[in-house]
Symmetry: C2
Subunit: 273 residues, 2 copies
Amino acid sequence: MKLKRSERIVDMTATLLDNPNKMFSLKDFTTKYESAKSSISEDLAIIKETFENNNIGIIETIVGSNGGVIYFPKLKPEIQEMYVEELINDLDNPKRILPGGYFYLSDIITNPKYLENIAKVIASQHYGEKIDYVLTVATKGVSVAQAVAKELGIPFVIARKESKITEGSTVSVKYKSQSAPNLVKNMEIGRESLKENSNILLVDDFFRGGGTINGMASIVEIFNSKVVASYVICEFNDKGLTQKLNTKSLVLITGMDPDTGKIDIQKGTIFDK
Amino acid sequence: MKLKRSERIVDMTATLLDNPNKMFSLKDFTTKYESAKSSISEDLAIIKETFENNNIGIIETIVGSNGGVIYFPKLKPEIQEMYVEELINDLDNPKRILPGGYFYLSDIITNPKYLENIAKVIASQHYGEKIDYVLTVATKGVSVAQAVAKELGIPFVIARKESKITEGSTVSVKYKSQSAPNLVKNMEIGRESLKENSNILLVDDFFRGGGTINGMASIVEIFNSKVVASYVICEFNDKGLTQKLNTKSLVLITGMDPDTGKIDIQKGTIFDK
Protein backbone atom coordinates (compact mmCIF):
# COMPACT_ATOMS: atom_id res chain seq x y z
CA MET A 1 0.00 0.00 0.00
CA LYS A 2 1.37 3.33 -1.09
CA LEU A 3 1.09 5.94 1.65
CA LYS A 4 1.96 9.59 2.08
CA ARG A 5 4.77 10.54 4.46
CA SER A 6 2.42 11.61 7.24
CA GLU A 7 0.44 8.36 6.95
CA ARG A 8 3.61 6.28 6.94
CA ILE A 9 4.74 8.10 10.06
CA VAL A 10 1.49 7.36 11.92
CA ASP A 11 1.61 3.69 11.01
CA MET A 12 5.32 3.29 11.76
CA THR A 13 4.93 5.02 15.13
CA ALA A 14 2.07 2.68 16.04
CA THR A 15 3.97 -0.39 14.82
CA LEU A 16 7.11 0.45 16.78
CA LEU A 17 5.24 1.31 19.99
CA ASP A 18 3.30 -1.92 19.75
CA ASN A 19 6.47 -4.00 19.35
CA PRO A 20 9.07 -2.87 21.88
CA ASN A 21 12.50 -4.48 21.63
CA LYS A 22 11.78 -5.96 18.20
CA MET A 23 13.90 -5.17 15.17
CA PHE A 24 12.30 -3.98 11.97
CA SER A 25 14.52 -3.85 8.92
CA LEU A 26 14.28 -0.95 6.50
CA LYS A 27 13.05 -3.53 3.99
CA ASP A 28 10.04 -4.36 6.21
CA PHE A 29 8.96 -0.75 5.79
CA THR A 30 10.01 -0.13 2.16
CA THR A 31 8.00 -3.22 1.17
CA LYS A 32 4.96 -2.36 3.28
CA TYR A 33 4.74 1.23 2.11
CA GLU A 34 6.16 0.81 -1.43
CA SER A 35 8.62 3.60 -0.67
CA ALA A 36 12.30 4.22 -1.27
CA LYS A 37 14.85 3.47 1.46
CA SER A 38 15.78 7.14 1.59
CA SER A 39 12.18 8.16 2.33
CA ILE A 40 11.83 5.56 5.08
CA SER A 41 15.15 6.65 6.59
CA GLU A 42 13.93 10.23 6.72
CA ASP A 43 10.63 9.13 8.30
CA LEU A 44 12.51 7.16 10.94
CA ALA A 45 14.80 10.08 11.71
CA ILE A 46 11.73 12.22 12.46
CA ILE A 47 10.17 9.50 14.64
CA LYS A 48 13.45 8.90 16.49
CA GLU A 49 13.94 12.58 17.26
CA THR A 50 10.34 13.08 18.39
CA PHE A 51 10.47 9.98 20.61
CA GLU A 52 13.57 11.36 22.30
CA ASN A 53 12.37 14.94 22.64
CA ASN A 54 8.99 13.89 24.01
CA ASN A 55 10.19 11.16 26.39
CA ILE A 56 8.43 8.36 24.55
CA GLY A 57 11.50 6.14 24.40
CA ILE A 58 14.47 5.57 22.17
CA ILE A 59 14.80 4.22 18.68
CA GLU A 60 18.09 2.58 17.96
CA THR A 61 19.36 2.34 14.42
CA ILE A 62 21.42 -0.72 13.60
CA VAL A 63 23.48 -0.18 10.48
CA GLY A 64 24.64 -2.78 8.00
CA SER A 65 22.93 -5.37 5.83
CA ASN A 66 21.19 -6.95 8.84
CA GLY A 67 20.33 -3.52 10.15
CA GLY A 68 17.11 -1.86 11.05
CA VAL A 69 15.44 -0.05 13.91
CA ILE A 70 14.37 -1.09 17.41
CA TYR A 71 12.09 0.84 19.74
CA PHE A 72 12.85 0.51 23.42
CA PRO A 73 10.87 2.19 26.23
CA LYS A 74 13.93 3.72 27.86
CA LEU A 75 12.99 6.86 29.74
CA LYS A 76 15.31 9.69 30.63
CA PRO A 77 16.45 9.58 34.29
CA GLU A 78 14.39 12.68 35.18
CA ILE A 79 11.20 11.07 33.83
CA GLN A 80 11.91 7.86 35.76
CA GLU A 81 12.36 9.91 38.94
CA MET A 82 9.17 11.82 38.22
CA TYR A 83 7.18 8.57 37.97
CA VAL A 84 8.68 7.36 41.25
CA GLU A 85 7.90 10.68 42.94
CA GLU A 86 4.28 10.41 41.80
CA LEU A 87 4.19 6.93 43.29
CA ILE A 88 5.66 8.16 46.60
CA ASN A 89 3.07 10.96 46.79
CA ASP A 90 0.29 8.46 46.34
CA LEU A 91 1.73 5.91 48.78
CA ASP A 92 2.37 8.42 51.56
CA ASN A 93 -1.12 8.02 53.02
CA PRO A 94 -1.92 6.78 56.57
CA LYS A 95 -4.84 4.72 55.21
CA ARG A 96 -2.32 2.47 53.51
CA ILE A 97 -0.98 1.11 56.83
CA LEU A 98 -2.74 -2.22 57.40
CA PRO A 99 -2.82 -4.25 60.64
CA GLY A 100 0.39 -6.19 61.24
CA GLY A 101 2.69 -3.79 59.42
CA TYR A 102 1.25 -4.62 56.00
CA PHE A 103 0.88 -1.98 53.36
CA TYR A 104 -2.00 -1.41 50.93
CA LEU A 105 -0.78 -1.50 47.33
CA SER A 106 -3.77 -3.18 45.65
CA ASP A 107 -5.05 -0.05 43.92
CA ILE A 108 -1.61 0.57 42.39
CA ILE A 109 -1.08 -2.94 41.08
CA THR A 110 -4.53 -3.06 39.46
CA ASN A 111 -4.22 0.29 37.69
CA PRO A 112 -2.88 -0.05 34.12
CA LYS A 113 -1.49 3.50 34.10
CA TYR A 114 0.59 3.03 37.26
CA LEU A 115 1.67 -0.41 36.09
CA GLU A 116 2.85 1.01 32.79
CA ASN A 117 4.92 3.73 34.46
CA ILE A 118 6.43 1.27 36.95
CA ALA A 119 7.20 -1.16 34.14
CA LYS A 120 8.88 1.54 32.05
CA VAL A 121 11.12 2.54 34.95
CA ILE A 122 12.19 -1.09 35.39
CA ALA A 123 12.57 -1.74 31.65
CA SER A 124 14.67 1.43 31.31
CA GLN A 125 17.44 -0.25 33.33
CA HIS A 126 17.87 -2.99 30.73
CA TYR A 127 18.13 -1.37 27.36
CA GLY A 128 20.18 -3.49 24.98
CA GLU A 129 20.29 -6.58 27.20
CA LYS A 130 19.04 -10.01 26.25
CA ILE A 131 16.26 -11.02 28.64
CA ASP A 132 14.05 -14.03 27.95
CA TYR A 133 11.46 -14.03 30.74
CA VAL A 134 10.08 -12.02 33.61
CA LEU A 135 9.46 -14.30 36.61
CA THR A 136 7.23 -13.52 39.55
CA VAL A 137 5.42 -15.35 42.31
CA ALA A 138 1.62 -15.49 42.62
CA THR A 139 -0.38 -13.57 43.30
CA LYS A 140 0.54 -9.93 43.93
CA GLY A 141 3.56 -9.74 41.65
CA VAL A 142 1.70 -10.97 38.59
CA SER A 143 0.42 -7.65 37.30
CA VAL A 144 3.87 -6.06 37.63
CA ALA A 145 5.44 -8.99 35.79
CA GLN A 146 2.88 -8.71 33.01
CA ALA A 147 3.46 -4.97 32.61
CA VAL A 148 7.27 -5.33 32.56
CA ALA A 149 7.05 -8.26 30.12
CA LYS A 150 4.94 -6.14 27.79
CA GLU A 151 7.54 -3.34 27.77
CA LEU A 152 10.31 -5.85 27.07
CA GLY A 153 8.30 -7.74 24.43
CA ILE A 154 8.82 -11.11 26.18
CA PRO A 155 6.64 -13.63 28.09
CA PHE A 156 6.29 -13.77 31.86
CA VAL A 157 6.22 -16.79 34.14
CA ILE A 158 4.30 -17.24 37.38
CA ALA A 159 5.61 -19.36 40.25
CA ARG A 160 2.89 -20.54 42.63
CA LYS A 161 2.87 -21.70 46.22
CA GLU A 162 0.85 -24.75 45.19
CA SER A 163 0.68 -26.12 41.69
CA LYS A 164 -2.57 -26.07 39.76
CA ILE A 165 -3.74 -28.91 37.55
CA THR A 166 -3.99 -26.49 34.65
CA GLU A 167 -0.23 -25.81 34.79
CA GLY A 168 0.55 -29.32 33.56
CA SER A 169 3.67 -30.94 35.08
CA THR A 170 5.55 -28.72 37.49
CA VAL A 171 8.95 -28.38 39.12
CA SER A 172 8.99 -27.45 42.80
CA VAL A 173 11.59 -25.94 45.11
CA LYS A 174 11.66 -25.49 48.87
CA TYR A 175 13.00 -22.29 50.32
CA LYS A 176 13.48 -20.68 53.70
CA SER A 177 11.27 -17.81 54.74
CA GLN A 178 13.44 -14.82 55.67
CA SER A 179 10.99 -13.38 58.18
CA ALA A 180 10.43 -16.74 59.94
CA PRO A 181 13.67 -18.67 59.39
CA ASN A 182 12.31 -21.98 60.68
CA LEU A 183 9.56 -21.97 58.10
CA VAL A 184 10.21 -23.83 54.86
CA LYS A 185 7.98 -22.87 51.97
CA ASN A 186 7.18 -24.42 48.62
CA MET A 187 7.13 -22.85 45.17
CA GLU A 188 6.28 -24.47 41.82
CA ILE A 189 6.31 -23.57 38.18
CA GLY A 190 5.18 -25.36 35.04
CA ARG A 191 7.94 -27.46 33.47
CA GLU A 192 7.09 -26.09 30.05
CA SER A 193 7.01 -22.47 31.15
CA LEU A 194 10.78 -21.76 31.20
CA LYS A 195 13.47 -22.81 28.73
CA GLU A 196 16.92 -23.75 30.08
CA ASN A 197 19.81 -21.28 29.73
CA SER A 198 17.57 -18.25 29.89
CA ASN A 199 18.17 -14.75 31.21
CA ILE A 200 15.52 -13.88 33.73
CA LEU A 201 14.30 -10.75 35.45
CA LEU A 202 12.63 -11.24 38.85
CA VAL A 203 9.86 -8.90 39.96
CA ASP A 204 7.50 -8.69 42.92
CA ASP A 205 5.25 -6.07 44.45
CA PHE A 206 6.66 -5.93 48.00
CA PHE A 207 9.93 -6.89 49.61
CA ARG A 208 10.52 -7.50 53.28
CA GLY A 209 13.06 -10.21 53.95
CA GLY A 210 13.54 -11.41 50.40
CA GLY A 211 12.46 -15.02 51.08
CA THR A 212 10.27 -15.21 47.98
CA ILE A 213 12.94 -13.62 45.82
CA ASN A 214 15.41 -16.26 47.06
CA GLY A 215 12.83 -18.95 46.26
CA MET A 216 12.56 -17.64 42.72
CA ALA A 217 16.36 -17.59 42.43
CA SER A 218 16.36 -21.33 43.33
CA ILE A 219 13.89 -22.04 40.53
CA VAL A 220 16.08 -20.12 38.09
CA GLU A 221 19.04 -22.32 39.15
CA ILE A 222 17.09 -25.53 38.54
CA PHE A 223 16.47 -24.36 34.99
CA ASN A 224 20.20 -23.63 34.52
CA SER A 225 19.29 -20.04 33.94
CA LYS A 226 20.54 -16.68 35.15
CA VAL A 227 18.96 -13.89 37.19
CA VAL A 228 19.75 -10.68 35.33
CA ALA A 229 18.27 -8.45 38.02
CA SER A 230 15.56 -8.36 40.65
CA TYR A 231 13.01 -5.59 41.37
CA VAL A 232 10.17 -4.76 43.72
CA ILE A 233 7.86 -1.77 43.70
CA CYS A 234 8.13 -1.27 47.42
CA GLU A 235 10.80 -2.28 49.94
CA PHE A 236 10.16 -2.21 53.67
CA ASN A 237 13.34 -2.82 55.64
CA ASP A 238 12.00 -2.80 59.17
CA LYS A 239 13.71 -6.00 60.25
CA GLY A 240 17.23 -5.40 59.03
CA LEU A 241 17.24 -8.70 57.17
CA THR A 242 19.98 -9.26 54.65
CA GLN A 243 19.28 -10.38 51.13
CA LYS A 244 21.34 -12.57 48.86
CA LEU A 245 20.23 -11.01 45.62
CA ASN A 246 20.70 -7.32 45.16
CA THR A 247 16.98 -6.61 44.76
CA LYS A 248 16.26 -3.04 43.76
CA SER A 249 13.18 -1.11 44.79
CA LEU A 250 11.33 1.84 43.28
CA VAL A 251 10.18 3.01 46.68
CA LEU A 252 11.74 2.45 50.10
CA ILE A 253 9.76 2.56 53.34
CA THR A 254 11.98 2.86 56.40
CA GLY A 255 9.23 3.16 58.96
CA MET A 256 5.49 3.43 59.47
CA ASP A 257 3.55 4.23 62.60
CA PRO A 258 -0.07 3.00 62.70
CA ASP A 259 -0.85 5.38 65.60
CA THR A 260 0.29 8.64 64.06
CA GLY A 261 -0.12 7.49 60.45
CA LYS A 262 3.37 8.70 59.69
CA ILE A 263 5.17 6.84 56.91
CA ASP A 264 8.88 7.34 56.25
CA ILE A 265 9.07 6.87 52.54
CA GLN A 266 11.69 7.77 49.96
CA LYS A 267 13.04 6.85 46.55
CA GLY A 268 14.13 3.22 46.37
CA THR A 269 17.51 1.70 45.62
CA ILE A 270 16.89 1.55 41.86
CA PHE A 271 18.53 4.94 41.49
CA ASP A 272 21.57 4.10 43.63
CA LYS A 273 24.84 4.01 41.75
CA MET B 1 7.04 23.50 22.29
CA LYS B 2 6.65 24.34 18.62
CA LEU B 3 6.77 21.27 16.43
CA LYS B 4 6.58 20.51 12.74
CA ARG B 5 3.56 18.64 11.41
CA SER B 6 5.40 15.32 11.15
CA GLU B 7 6.66 15.65 14.73
CA ARG B 8 3.22 16.61 16.02
CA ILE B 9 1.80 13.56 14.28
CA VAL B 10 4.31 11.22 15.92
CA ASP B 11 3.65 12.64 19.37
CA MET B 12 -0.15 12.73 18.97
CA THR B 13 -0.19 9.15 17.69
CA ALA B 14 1.84 8.02 20.71
CA THR B 15 -0.34 10.02 23.13
CA LEU B 16 -3.60 8.66 21.76
CA LEU B 17 -2.38 5.04 21.66
CA ASP B 18 -1.15 5.35 25.21
CA ASN B 19 -4.49 6.68 26.45
CA PRO B 20 -7.32 4.60 24.99
CA ASN B 21 -10.84 5.78 25.71
CA LYS B 22 -9.68 9.17 27.00
CA MET B 23 -10.82 12.42 25.46
CA PHE B 24 -8.30 15.03 24.37
CA SER B 25 -9.67 18.43 23.45
CA LEU B 26 -8.29 20.30 20.47
CA LYS B 27 -7.07 22.84 23.00
CA ASP B 28 -4.89 20.19 24.73
CA PHE B 29 -3.04 19.85 21.46
CA THR B 30 -3.05 23.48 20.28
CA THR B 31 -1.53 24.47 23.65
CA LYS B 32 1.02 21.68 23.72
CA TYR B 33 2.25 22.24 20.18
CA GLU B 34 1.64 26.01 19.93
CA SER B 35 -0.30 25.39 16.74
CA ALA B 36 -3.54 26.65 15.21
CA LYS B 37 -6.75 24.66 15.59
CA SER B 38 -6.91 24.20 11.85
CA SER B 39 -3.45 22.58 11.77
CA ILE B 40 -4.30 20.22 14.62
CA SER B 41 -7.57 19.29 12.93
CA GLU B 42 -5.71 18.40 9.76
CA ASP B 43 -3.17 16.34 11.75
CA LEU B 44 -5.97 14.46 13.47
CA ALA B 45 -7.73 13.78 10.17
CA ILE B 46 -4.54 12.10 8.90
CA ILE B 47 -4.14 10.06 12.09
CA LYS B 48 -7.80 9.05 12.07
CA GLU B 49 -7.68 7.86 8.47
CA THR B 50 -4.43 5.97 8.94
CA PHE B 51 -5.71 4.28 12.12
CA GLU B 52 -8.76 3.08 10.20
CA ASN B 53 -6.95 1.99 7.05
CA ASN B 54 -4.28 0.12 9.00
CA ASN B 55 -6.54 -1.54 11.58
CA ILE B 56 -5.01 0.27 14.52
CA GLY B 57 -8.36 1.36 15.94
CA ILE B 58 -10.77 4.22 15.58
CA ILE B 59 -10.55 7.87 16.48
CA GLU B 60 -13.83 9.48 17.23
CA THR B 61 -14.26 13.21 16.83
CA ILE B 62 -16.67 14.86 19.24
CA VAL B 63 -17.80 18.22 17.93
CA GLY B 64 -18.85 21.25 19.95
CA SER B 65 -17.25 23.35 22.64
CA ASN B 66 -16.64 20.31 24.86
CA GLY B 67 -15.41 18.40 21.87
CA GLY B 68 -12.21 16.61 21.11
CA VAL B 69 -10.93 13.23 20.02
CA ILE B 70 -10.94 9.77 21.60
CA TYR B 71 -8.91 6.77 20.50
CA PHE B 72 -10.56 3.42 20.97
CA PRO B 73 -8.99 0.06 20.08
CA LYS B 74 -11.96 -1.12 18.03
CA LEU B 75 -10.86 -3.59 15.40
CA LYS B 76 -12.70 -4.39 12.20
CA PRO B 77 -14.65 -7.67 12.38
CA GLU B 78 -12.26 -9.41 9.95
CA ILE B 79 -9.26 -8.54 12.13
CA GLN B 80 -11.05 -9.78 15.25
CA GLU B 81 -11.80 -13.06 13.48
CA MET B 82 -8.20 -13.30 12.30
CA TYR B 83 -6.93 -13.01 15.89
CA VAL B 84 -9.37 -15.68 17.02
CA GLU B 85 -8.34 -17.98 14.15
CA GLU B 86 -4.68 -17.58 15.15
CA LEU B 87 -5.68 -18.55 18.68
CA ILE B 88 -7.59 -21.60 17.45
CA ASN B 89 -4.59 -22.72 15.38
CA ASP B 90 -2.38 -22.51 18.40
CA LEU B 91 -4.85 -24.20 20.77
CA ASP B 92 -5.57 -27.13 18.45
CA ASN B 93 -2.68 -29.19 19.80
CA PRO B 94 -3.01 -32.63 21.50
CA LYS B 95 -0.34 -31.62 24.05
CA ARG B 96 -2.82 -29.13 25.50
CA ILE B 97 -5.13 -31.86 26.81
CA LEU B 98 -4.30 -32.30 30.49
CA PRO B 99 -5.39 -35.16 32.79
CA GLY B 100 -8.98 -34.78 33.99
CA GLY B 101 -10.24 -32.90 30.93
CA TYR B 102 -8.25 -29.77 31.76
CA PHE B 103 -6.74 -27.67 29.04
CA TYR B 104 -3.31 -25.99 28.94
CA LEU B 105 -3.66 -22.25 28.38
CA SER B 106 -0.76 -20.99 30.55
CA ASP B 107 1.50 -20.03 27.65
CA ILE B 108 -1.27 -17.94 26.10
CA ILE B 109 -2.21 -16.05 29.26
CA THR B 110 1.43 -15.17 30.03
CA ASN B 111 2.25 -13.88 26.55
CA PRO B 112 1.73 -10.11 26.22
CA LYS B 113 1.18 -10.32 22.46
CA TYR B 114 -1.64 -12.87 22.72
CA LEU B 115 -3.13 -11.01 25.68
CA GLU B 116 -3.18 -7.79 23.72
CA ASN B 117 -4.96 -9.37 20.76
CA ILE B 118 -7.48 -11.11 23.02
CA ALA B 119 -8.07 -7.87 24.92
CA LYS B 120 -8.61 -5.90 21.72
CA VAL B 121 -11.20 -8.38 20.49
CA ILE B 122 -13.08 -8.08 23.80
CA ALA B 123 -12.70 -4.28 23.99
CA SER B 124 -13.96 -3.97 20.40
CA GLN B 125 -17.41 -5.12 21.56
CA HIS B 126 -17.78 -2.11 23.86
CA TYR B 127 -16.90 0.97 21.91
CA GLY B 128 -18.73 4.01 23.25
CA GLU B 129 -19.99 2.33 26.42
CA LYS B 130 -19.28 3.48 29.95
CA ILE B 131 -17.42 0.74 31.79
CA ASP B 132 -15.77 1.38 35.16
CA TYR B 133 -13.97 -1.85 36.06
CA VAL B 134 -12.94 -5.20 34.71
CA LEU B 135 -13.53 -7.89 37.33
CA THR B 136 -11.94 -11.33 37.38
CA VAL B 137 -11.24 -14.10 39.83
CA ALA B 138 -7.74 -15.16 40.88
CA THR B 139 -5.61 -16.51 39.57
CA LYS B 140 -5.86 -17.46 35.90
CA GLY B 141 -8.17 -14.65 34.78
CA VAL B 142 -5.93 -11.90 36.13
CA SER B 143 -3.72 -11.39 33.09
CA VAL B 144 -6.73 -11.23 30.78
CA ALA B 145 -8.41 -8.69 33.07
CA GLN B 146 -5.26 -6.57 33.14
CA ALA B 147 -4.94 -6.61 29.35
CA VAL B 148 -8.63 -5.72 28.80
CA ALA B 149 -8.45 -2.98 31.44
CA LYS B 150 -5.47 -1.48 29.66
CA GLU B 151 -7.34 -1.33 26.34
CA LEU B 152 -10.32 0.29 28.06
CA GLY B 153 -8.19 2.69 30.12
CA ILE B 154 -9.79 1.60 33.41
CA PRO B 155 -8.69 -0.34 36.54
CA PHE B 156 -9.27 -4.03 37.12
CA VAL B 157 -10.39 -5.81 40.28
CA ILE B 158 -9.41 -9.27 41.46
CA ALA B 159 -11.76 -11.47 43.46
CA ARG B 160 -9.98 -14.17 45.47
CA LYS B 161 -11.01 -17.49 46.95
CA GLU B 162 -9.49 -16.45 50.27
CA SER B 163 -8.79 -12.90 51.30
CA LYS B 164 -5.25 -11.72 51.83
CA ILE B 165 -4.22 -9.40 54.65
CA THR B 166 -2.79 -7.00 52.09
CA GLU B 167 -6.24 -6.44 50.57
CA GLY B 168 -7.44 -4.58 53.65
CA SER B 169 -11.09 -5.18 54.63
CA THR B 170 -12.97 -7.45 52.28
CA VAL B 171 -16.52 -8.38 51.31
CA SER B 172 -17.22 -12.06 50.74
CA VAL B 173 -19.93 -13.99 48.89
CA LYS B 174 -20.75 -17.66 48.81
CA TYR B 175 -21.72 -19.27 45.53
CA LYS B 176 -22.63 -22.67 44.19
CA SER B 177 -20.19 -24.55 42.04
CA GLN B 178 -21.86 -25.45 38.71
CA SER B 179 -19.79 -28.57 38.13
CA ALA B 180 -20.36 -29.91 41.68
CA PRO B 181 -23.73 -28.43 42.72
CA ASN B 182 -23.40 -29.50 46.37
CA LEU B 183 -20.19 -27.55 46.76
CA VAL B 184 -20.43 -24.03 48.11
CA LYS B 185 -17.45 -21.81 47.42
CA ASN B 186 -16.23 -18.51 48.78
CA MET B 187 -15.05 -15.41 46.94
CA GLU B 188 -13.82 -12.11 48.40
CA ILE B 189 -12.79 -8.69 47.17
CA GLY B 190 -11.36 -5.65 48.87
CA ARG B 191 -14.04 -3.26 50.10
CA GLU B 192 -12.17 -0.33 48.65
CA SER B 193 -11.59 -1.92 45.28
CA LEU B 194 -15.03 -1.29 43.72
CA LYS B 195 -17.23 1.81 43.86
CA GLU B 196 -21.02 1.35 44.08
CA ASN B 197 -23.16 1.92 40.99
CA SER B 198 -20.45 0.87 38.61
CA ASN B 199 -20.60 -0.79 35.21
CA ILE B 200 -18.52 -3.92 35.23
CA LEU B 201 -17.10 -6.29 32.64
CA LEU B 202 -16.41 -9.85 33.84
CA VAL B 203 -13.57 -11.83 32.33
CA ASP B 204 -11.98 -15.20 32.96
CA ASP B 205 -9.67 -17.55 31.11
CA PHE B 206 -11.80 -20.70 30.98
CA PHE B 207 -15.48 -21.44 31.27
CA ARG B 208 -17.01 -24.78 32.07
CA GLY B 209 -20.11 -24.54 34.20
CA GLY B 210 -20.01 -20.84 34.90
CA GLY B 211 -19.88 -21.16 38.70
CA THR B 212 -17.14 -18.59 39.10
CA ILE B 213 -18.84 -16.20 36.72
CA ASN B 214 -22.01 -16.50 38.82
CA GLY B 215 -19.93 -15.85 41.94
CA MET B 216 -18.58 -12.67 40.41
CA ALA B 217 -22.10 -11.61 39.45
CA SER B 218 -23.09 -11.94 43.14
CA ILE B 219 -20.25 -9.63 44.14
CA VAL B 220 -21.36 -7.11 41.54
CA GLU B 221 -24.87 -7.20 43.06
CA ILE B 222 -23.53 -6.54 46.56
CA PHE B 223 -21.87 -3.40 45.25
CA ASN B 224 -25.16 -2.28 43.61
CA SER B 225 -23.41 -2.44 40.32
CA LYS B 226 -24.19 -3.84 36.91
CA VAL B 227 -22.59 -6.53 34.76
CA VAL B 228 -22.24 -5.06 31.29
CA ALA B 229 -21.00 -8.29 29.73
CA SER B 230 -19.03 -11.40 30.54
CA TYR B 231 -16.20 -13.03 28.53
CA VAL B 232 -13.89 -16.00 28.61
CA ILE B 233 -11.07 -16.90 26.26
CA CYS B 234 -12.08 -20.52 26.08
CA GLU B 235 -15.42 -22.26 26.65
CA PHE B 236 -15.68 -26.02 27.08
CA ASN B 237 -19.27 -27.17 27.10
CA ASP B 238 -18.84 -30.87 27.74
CA LYS B 239 -21.37 -31.10 30.55
CA GLY B 240 -24.29 -29.26 29.01
CA LEU B 241 -24.58 -26.98 32.04
CA THR B 242 -26.68 -23.90 31.66
CA GLN B 243 -25.42 -20.49 32.58
CA LYS B 244 -27.33 -17.57 34.02
CA LEU B 245 -25.20 -14.88 32.46
CA ASN B 246 -24.74 -14.86 28.74
CA THR B 247 -20.97 -15.34 28.90
CA LYS B 248 -19.30 -15.05 25.53
CA SER B 249 -16.23 -16.96 24.48
CA LEU B 250 -13.52 -16.30 21.91
CA VAL B 251 -12.97 -20.00 21.38
CA LEU B 252 -15.38 -22.92 21.88
CA ILE B 253 -14.22 -26.47 22.54
CA THR B 254 -16.97 -29.03 22.01
CA GLY B 255 -14.89 -32.11 22.65
CA MET B 256 -11.40 -33.40 23.30
CA ASP B 257 -10.13 -36.98 23.28
CA PRO B 258 -6.98 -37.63 25.33
CA ASP B 259 -6.43 -40.94 23.48
CA THR B 260 -6.47 -39.68 19.91
CA GLY B 261 -5.45 -36.11 20.79
CA LYS B 262 -8.35 -34.81 18.72
CA ILE B 263 -9.80 -31.49 19.83
CA ASP B 264 -13.06 -30.16 18.41
CA ILE B 265 -12.49 -26.46 18.46
CA GLN B 266 -14.20 -23.56 16.73
CA LYS B 267 -14.86 -19.84 16.98
CA GLY B 268 -16.59 -18.90 20.22
CA THR B 269 -19.94 -17.27 20.82
CA ILE B 270 -18.50 -13.74 20.76
CA PHE B 271 -19.28 -13.52 17.05
CA ASP B 272 -22.85 -14.86 17.37
CA LYS B 273 -25.52 -12.35 16.50
